[in-house]
């Protein structure tokens, strides 16, 4: 029987993000990348990829490391 893994998701407030990309550097599953669209401040904010990313079956576990390191409190974490 497959072990049930914890699932989660995050939302990133585009306009609070100042593009330091600390979240990208800490995400254990590399589910955050740089957006191609500028935000209101003129930065390319971090962007979350729902579900799988990069062809592998990587999912957000809701570990909240990204939200912990975010200096601008732009990330909210939801756990299922």
């Amino acid at each position: 029987m497959a072990k049930k893994t914890r699932q989660g998701k995050i939302t990133i407030d585009r306009d609070l993000c100042k593009a330091c990309y600390l979240c990208i550097s800490v995400c254990p599953n590399q589910l955050i990348s740089i957006s191609k669209k500028l935000n209101q401040k003129g930065y390319y904010p971090a962007e979350f990829h729902k579900g799988t990313h990069g062809g592998e079956n990587r999912r957000c576990t809701g570990c909240a490391t990204c939200a912990t390191v975010c200096p601008d409190i732009a990330i909210e974490v939801y756990r299922e």
Binding site: K18, C20, K41, G42, Y43, P71, D72
Partner: protein, 353 residues
């Protein structure tokens, strides 16, 4: 606190009662904070000017009237303010100008850069003048140097530039603020234009058509700059006691360099850091002193190489000066600098010293 907010709060506590600015990323938070801070004060004035030119000229006026005045901008905006800064210097008016450097030239981008070193330290505007340039490298230093900036400006009656960058302006760090000063306890300014009732009228001007008068004024400014050079040069050193190689960096670059030095020290490389806190006057004395035992210096800047010239001048050709830099808003990682230090160290055979 966010870097921009730190400067604004520290300025308010240092007695800044006039702020004029025009928005530009990455320092908008400073202007925003000042709007709140000045409006909460009974005697504070905040003006969002119609342009950078207007802002700096408003600062000239406020300074003439005796207020501790400040304006802030980022690289392209500071270029526009240069004319006003030259006038401040000529008329011997105190003012604090914050430059949150971004990528350039031209409009460039809004990422952290250190490309305005020449503009800040060489004068920037026209004429034979200098400005004091302070380069903070942490949240706490943003607060401390902002207070110092107002003190230097008043003491020497000269404009002072706080040279940060996009990283300094945006990063968040814990800061301990000093208590607000009591404006009434500041020494009186016997030169301000505050209404000539019951006293002879005064005049502040920079138009000196008589060449001998202008010459005398220039020598007067020069003597002032000489005493500033003697009195306020400051620098921080880190792990330099046994260093075979000294990295020279300021502001954000110095923090990256410090991280890199920690890494290479673990590998047994004897590397130290020299961080100028005052970029003008440049702390030449300490560097020259070291040239007797340190053969190699590595200058690291977030530009194609500007401070490296001052380092060479300070060392008077006695040591080798190497350079590493990334312009355009690229922020190097400590790993990248550690790699550079490592290869230079072995290229120069410093492990044999």
């Amino acid at each position: 606190m966010r870097g921009s907010h730190v400067i604004a709060e520290a300025a308010t506590r240092a007695g800044c009662r006039f702020y004029a600015g025009y928005p530009i990323t990455p320092q908008n938070e400073l202007t925003e904070y000042m709007a709140g801070a000045m409006s909460r004060l009974e005697d504070g004035t905040f003006i969002q000017a119609e342009s950078e030119l207007a802002a700096i000229n408003m600062v000239i006026g406020a300074s003439m009237a005796g207020a501790r005045a400040m304006t802030s901008s980022s690289s392209p905006g500071i270029s526009l303010k240069q004319e006003g800064i030259s006038y401040l210097a000529a008329q011997e008016l105190p003012a604090v100008i914050v430059n949150t450097m971004r990528g350039g030239p031209g409009l460039g981008n809004i990422a952290p850069s250190q490309g305005d070193y020449f503009q800040a330290t060489r004068g920037g505007g026209h004429g034979d003048y200098r400005t004091i340039v302070l380069a903070p490298a942490s949240g706490q230093e943003l607060a401390d140097l902002t207070r110092k900036a107002f003190e230097y400006a008043d003491d020497y009656r000269t404009p002072v530039i706080i040279l940060g960058d996009g990283m300094m302006g945006q990063m968040m760090e814990p800061v301990e603020m000093e208590e607000p000063i009591d404006l009434r306890k500041l020494p009186p300014k016997p030169w301000i234009l505050d209404g000539a009732a019951k006293r002879p009228s005064r005049l502040i001007r920079s138009l000196l058509l008589d060449t001998s008068v202008e010459e005398e004024h220039n020598w007067k400014l020069f003597r002032k700059y000489e005493s500033i050079t003697r009195e306020i040069s400051r620098a921080e050193t880190y792990q330099t006691a046994d260093a075979h190689l000294v990295v020279v960096a300021y502001g954000t670059a110095s923090r990256i360099a410090k991280g890199a030095i920690k890494k290479v020290r673990e590998m047994g490389l004897k590397v130290g850091l020299f961080r100028p806190i005052t970029l003008w006057p440049f702390p030449k004395g300490a560097l020259l002193e070291w040239s007797r035992r340190v053969r190699d210096f590595l200058v690291f800047e977030m530009s194609t190489g500007q401070m490296v010239e001052d380092v060479k001048l300070a060392l008077e050709g006695r040591s080798n000066v190497h350079f590493y830099g990334r312009p355009g808003g690229i922020v190097s990682t400590p790993d990248e600098i550690a790699k550079e230090i490592n290869s230079l160290y072995h290229r120069q055979h410093l492990e044999e010293d």
